[in-house]
Amino acid sequence: MLTILAHPAGALAPAGILSGTISDATPNAEQLRRGQYLVAAGDCLSCHTRAGGEALAGGLALSTPFGLIYTANLTPDKQTGIGSWTEQQFYRAMHEGVDDQGINLYPAFPYPWFQLTSRADDDAIFAFLKSTPPVAYTPPADALPFPMNFRIVVKVWNLLFLDTAAFRADSSQSAEWNRGAYLVNGLGHCGDCHTPKNFLGGDKSHQAFHGARLGDWVAPDLTSNERTGLGSWSVNEVAEYLQNGRNVHAGAGGPMAEVITYSTSLLTDADRHAIAVYLKSQVAAPSTASGAPDIGTMRRGAAIYVDACSSCHLDDGVGQPRVFPPLGRNAMVQQGDATAVEHVILAGSRIGTSALRTTPLTMPSFAWKLSDADIAAVSTYIRNSWGNQAAAVTAAEVHDLRKALHLDADRLTANSGDRL
């Protein structure tokens, strides 16, 4: 028997914990509602819920360059969760990255961003977490190699990279811009994925939002670069994307699908607009030049495109806006690092959903159908057609990613990319 309680898209129905109504009769209802909203703003669910697990009970393995880190149980269970924590201890966790015992947490927990959050907001989040159903569950122990298994190294890291300054409004900017900055650089922790990291995992702060490799994915450029960033998107289009996971330019797949489902789709229109205004103010990242692609590869890619891609993305890559993303002048397609394009073709991609756009539109896996060379050719083709320009993709890159994604393992169905 297979009981499908959650959305088979792999996402838990967010309706429960994040959109459940808190009645006026509940003591402290105002603060709890604020906390519920901020838990969405912080996208806590995406990491603190493991596949098939209870909301916020943790146990999801985060694969960092330094090893595997399991997320904590945030439910108010006294033994395994944060049931015995105090407001002050929670505040310190959010601001200094230490747990209730004063032991350093790894910065996979985004306290370097959360430290911007106000005390009142922290208290509201804590109050809401304390009101959720307690779940007795202890996540597995982290699997970090020496010397990362010594938490003392985090103290050194904090000295190097932790900015403990409180949020300072920029009086030269609008209130809306400042609200956006507070959300993006605070709870939203957008730069956690979208800002490149140095070899110690600290932000390359002079390259804020330039886009970065993220494991098997790429978090794209969010600056005003017209080709790779948000330069050609309007503020409203950015807000629409955050609301519904889709707009005329793109669909939110990969880890961003969860951000849409568990976070940005649940924010107010005003906050989404503020985020968009702030992001649209980022100075464009420099464009990287790439040589003209090989003609033979382009011809091969064009033939594969017609066979495999055109039934949804249509001739000339025009797509069906808001349904199947147009591929021409597509920022994700033109990222300097082609990993996301390769990933989507190999494994498929399912986009995030909202109450207004419920369909998790999904591109199927083509790993069973296209060889590494085929995928390299068609990726090169779409990265250099219809106004696009980006570096060619090699079969070796695709080969490595295919291995990393374990796409040779048994599938749920013969032709699917879903792993058993």
Binding site: M1, L2, T3, S311, V323, T359, P364, S416
Partner: protein, 589 residues
């Protein structure tokens, strides 16, 4: 050993179109709903993605999405003098299974029945006299529900699917370009009609020249992208020609997956259990109330799911069988004419005319499940039946559902079925031929019915359903008459030749005709001649509702899904507004 589970408000038996729609309506009303589906979970990207959806061998010929008849099938005979034998390979109709069921592999032809179809008996009796409706032992009757009552619910289904079409009657005003014979619509279709390709265009031109009234087929293969009221999205159809028998990889065919599930699966008060086959509905000792259902999962474990409401939302043949197995209602006896469950089984009377040109390239591979220009001049009671010796009718459609290379190659009269001559004929005609479909009604008859087979059993030891069915003189006369009308249009197109594929002889389960089985759990005005009332509520067990085409007292000359959906919405509205407040019979006897 049977494990008793936590009680729920409603259990849905089967999860295709009717289960999905009813589940959504009941969950929105706040009920805790569990759906039990005997088949597997099915989703676009994993089960029929664009890269392999158009695999004719896998889906059409190897029945990838259909019921596996080695586990469960039914027996069939033409009349009570014969021995019924089990169907060991699906043919005439292709039974669905799995999430979405037939809603996954239908053509997307979305019709409303005519207002007069719902009064088949009284209307025809009034116009043509009593003899017209009692000859040949016809057992037709009125539905107990009217077109006017169902119109808002037909509309709900159109809004759900984003149906592409052109209205022919808006609130009583006839509209150019639409079907002038249809019942009044409260508003225009949500999306415009599909673009008609060459063959349907030619058909429409010549039909008009003969004084007929051509219009584009209303379709769930969408002409443009659409967002429905549940926030579910469909894309525009790419005319790939793989709809019927196939799932759509492009999100462009209306199905439970594309229209309801994205919304319903987010609901915390809804859960779906796949690979769970319901064995029977459990009743109290007095058989006046259902307590829940007993089902078995794919591991062979048995469960009792208690529920306040039991909704039979499986296919018509399973719904009727479950009633017979569970002791709901009195089984029909064809000898005495008494009893109701299994009574008035009906089907669809299909024929066609193939048209072959020398000078026209039709490119039939550009197709879609409901890509057609249609005339409705000879359907239902849209024409005078005086002296014709039958009631009912058919729509005639110049249709290109696709040019699938194995199934859909038309060859002229006299061509052998295989070998060199067939190959030459196939090569010569593939691009230059198409088929005109004659989609006819099927009246009910006292000898056509469903019951439990006395001999054959399924893997769980339960008797199979037995179908006793044959076409009657009424159906043959109707079909021949309208096929001749189709041939007139075909000849007017000035082709090299045509081929008439009439409906001849007895019903056979071998050649594919259509999966439009109806009746057996029919609706009506009183418990003497029907199983369910106008709200699909069982007269005998008021907390059991039986959805689907089983409720049709006879079948009209249209595809049934639109009416199946409208009846489901109609029932759901009554359950959520009246029944939940005061559980009990919704129609007093």
């Amino acid at each position: 050993m049977t494990t008793t589970l936590k009680a729920v408000d409603a259990v849905l038996v089967g999860f295709g179109w009717t289960g999905a729609i009813m589940g959504q309506q009941l969950c929105d009303a706040g009920l805790e709903v569990v759906a039990l589906e005997r088949g597997p979970w099915r989703d676009t990207s994993t089960d029929f993605a664009t890269g392999f959806a158009q695999d004719e061998l896998r889906y059409m010929w190897r029945h990838h999405l259909f019921q596996n008849v080695s586990y469960d099938t039914l027996t069939v005979r033409n009349n009570t003098a014969q021995n019924a034998l089990p169907i060991r390979r699906l043919g005439a109709f292709l039974l669905g299974t799995g999430v979405g069921s037939g809603g996954v592999h239908w053509n997307g032809q979305i019709w409303r029945f005519l207002p007069s179809d719902f009064q088949a008996k009284s209307h025809n009796q009034q116009r043509y006299g009593k003899k017209a409706v009692t000859d040949y032992d016809l057992s037709i009757q009125d539905w107990g529900v009217t077109y006017e009552e169902l119109e808002p619910h037909y509309d709900q289904f159109d809004q759900l699917c984003g149906t592409s079409g052109k209205a022919g009657n808006l609130n009583g005003a006839i509209q150019p370009g639409g079907n002038p014979f249809e019942g009044p619509r409260s508003r225009e279709y949500p999306t415009p009609p599909m673009i008609q390709t060459y063959a349907p265009t030619l058909f429409g031109q010549e039909a008009a020249s003969l004084g007929r009234h051509p219009f584009p087929h209303p379709t769930g293969n969408l002409s443009e992208s659409y967002v429905n009221p549940l926030g579910a999205q469909l894309g525009a159809c790419t005319y790939c020609g793989f709809c019927e028998k196939f799932g759509c990889g492009n999100y462009s065919k209306a199905s439970p997956q594309t229209t309801v599930l994205p919304y319903l699966m987010r609901k915390p008060n809804f859960s779906l259990r796949t690979e769970c086959e319901v064995l029977r509905v459990e009743l109290t000792a007095d058989r006046k109330r259902a307590t829940g259902v007993t089902y078995v999962n794919s591991a062979g474990e048995e469960f009792f799911q208690p529920a306040e409401l039991v909704i039979l939302s499986a296919y018509v043949l399973q719904n009727v069988r479950l009633m017979l197995l569970s002791g709901i209602g009195r089984p029909y006896d064809p000898v005495s004419g008494e009893g109701v469950v299994g009574r008035n089984y009906a089907y669809q009377t299909m024929s066609s005319v193939n048209v072959f040109f020398d000078d026209k390239i039709l490119n039939p591979f550009i197709g879609a499940g409901a890509l057609a220009t249609v005339i409705d001049d000879f359907n239902g009671d849209n024409f005078d039946h005086s002296g014709l010796g039958f009631i009912g009718g058919a729509y005639v459609a110049g249709m290109v559902t696709g040019g699938r290379p194995i199934e859909m190659i038309y060859t002229p009269e006299g061509t052998p079925a295989w070998g060199l001559d067939w190959k030459h004929a196939a090569a010569k005609n593939y691009l230059k031929s198409f088929s005109i479909s004659v989609h006819g009604s099927c009246m009910s008859h006292r000898g056509n019915y469903l019951d439990l087979d006395p001999t054959y059993r399924d893997v769980y030891g339960r008797p199979m359903l037995r179908m006793t069915f044959d076409f009657t003189g009424n159906e043959h006369r109707m079909s021949d008459y309208v096929t001749d009308r189709a041939a007139e249009v075909a000849r007017a197109m000035n082709p090299r030749e045509i081929k008439l594929n009439r409906r001849v002889g007895s019903f056979s389960v071998v050649p594919y005709q259509t999966t439009h089985n109806t009746g057996g759990a029919i609706m009506g005005e009183n418990p003497r001649d029907s199983v369910v009332n106008k709200f699909l509520q069982c007269w005998d067990v008021p907390n059991v509702f039986s959805l689907g085409s089983g409720a049709f007292p006879q079948n009209a000359g249209y595809n049934p899904t639109g009416t199946v959906a409208a009846l489901t919405y109609h029932a759901a509205r009554e359950i959520t507004t009246r029944y939940l407040r005061a559980p009990g019979p919704l129609v007093q006897t």
